[in-house]
Amino acid sequence: MSKKYLVAYMTLGYPNVNDFYKFIDNIEDFGVDILEIGIPPKYAKYDGPVIRKTYKIVSNNIKNYYEILYEVKQRIKIPVVILTYLEEYVDKLGDFLLKLKESRVDGVLFPDLLIDYVDEYEKYVNLIKNEGIKTVLFTAPLMPDDLIIKASKLTDLFLYYGVRPTTGVVIPISIDSLINRIRTMVQSKLVVGFGLNSIEDIKKAMSVGADGIAVGTSLIEEVDKNGVNGALELIKKLRGVLDEY
């Protein structure tokens, strides 16, 4: 059996640049396989209050995001995927991709690509891939089966499946039913995220065939409560849960 993916999300430069570096310097050792870094958008369409708040803080404090991204890639070896909304870059995508390339990040994930740009998503996927940047596609239960199947063939690294409508808000859902619906359709690695803050839910997801989980809001809540060490402890705990599968 191959190793299950632990995908960690952190907002770029949160809570401050020093602590952010401290966090990423340690995540590899604590068992993170892929790092997602959020670049603050003007409208965090599918983010809950916790991540929205981090965007506000960061965008007030940090001027040059790309310098920090470059530094991140100097410090860790695991793949780094940028998470931000296409809406904001759609008119200057070439510039944006170039900056990502110069920062040496591995990939990009636009949560709104298959939702608000579904008519032209293949065009954008090609543009990104042509720059040598990996494209992690974001899917959700509100997408039709056909699209999820297509996306799972196009995506790099893994297919992201956001099981709740927004990050961090723990809307009641049946994770196992949601994964059962798509598991046989998805040929790529399937990583499940959005509101996965209970070990019970994570175990449910893994037992019906998820290849990994993505966590963000609960890491930020740990950082806010117990500092970076708290977040690293949570990562260790989650790694332990995933290693049971």
Binding site: P49, I115, D116, V118, L142, P144, T166, P172, I173, R181
Partner: protein, 424 residues
Amino acid sequence: MVNSFDIIPKYWYNIIPDLPKPLPPPRDPQDAEFSRIDLLRKILPKEVLRQEFTIERFVKIPDEVRDRYINIGRPTPLIRARRLEEYLKTPARIYFKYEGATPTGSHKINTAIPQAYFAANEGVSHVTTETGAGQWGTAVALAASMYDLESTIFMVRVSYEHKPMRRTIMELYGAKVHASPTDLTEFGRKILKEDSRHPGSLGIAMSEAIEYALENNYRYLVGSVLDVVILHQSIIGMESINQLEALGEEPDTIIGCVGGGSNFGGFTYPFIGTKRGKKYIAVGSSEVPKFSKGKYEYDFPDSAGLLPLVKMITLGKDFIPPPIYSGGLRYHGVAPTLSLLVKEKVVEWREYTEEEIYNSAKIFMKTQGIIPAPESAHAIKAAIDEALEAKKTNDKKVILVNVSGHGLLDLSNYESMKNRVMKK
């Protein structure tokens, strides 16, 4: 021999996995001071919310709910409108699904029952909702009484004044009914302060019902628009498929009226999802011109903006229907799934004036004897037009129309329509 137990489906159907495009998700507004999506957890019964966001093609109907469906007379009849065909001299065969046969006189009970059942299971003691014409309020009042829940209904003021009979029924079932805008909620008081004679709207009444539920830790039952409601209503279409198959008929044109979109979705989606039928027609009112004048954009389902933004065809959350108009279908938006299907041209739309639907209702009364709800008369008008069109080309197609309710408690609407039509 097919018995009713076999005709009622064991599963609800959700069209989302079969839509041509992704359904844009509900969102929190940009720079929101609080999360509407988070607030949903305090507004809706937990299981209703779980069904809204656990998207599966088929969802098992709990045995207790299925028993209640049978107890209120489901499956509802699928009737061939032979006299209407003869009157129109059309070669088409017209069938109508008669949702007016339920005790509350409309399809609304199909979702009120499971929502009340889930609420009662979770230990909720009291539910709230809004109502316009009173069909939804009546359905909630009955469903609440089935499960020994208290119910509070915020009824659009203009309807409250013109529809005392509906109010009586709700009260007979045990509901408390208030004319919205009320002074029971902050939002109601705000509206009354601006205009003490405000006629009310569904959007305002909805906001009041939600606010009142939040204030008292009750739960709110939702009557249309959200996916979970259309999921529950899918029994209309699933039964119709079984009933048509028993007759050896294949439908060509499938028609329903659209307020928020739940009877239309419940009726047509099982056909659309399984590629049965060739043409689907959603019918709205010219006086509330959602399809012709509405915009497809993110908007709030309620006027106060307590629910998340959803992407729908909308006239705007503050839309107030014309004061002199009795045809129903007054809600400002169209369910997101139906909006998407209209935008993708899977579903066609029509709009008819009050006068047109009045005349169609009269034809239906004369030929089939049933007084349709003014809402349903919109669908009947489209069915008549389609049947007349078929006559021109001698097309023997099968037209299927959902008669979403009866009009026995809408006689005052017909009275005022009659007066207006006669004056012309």
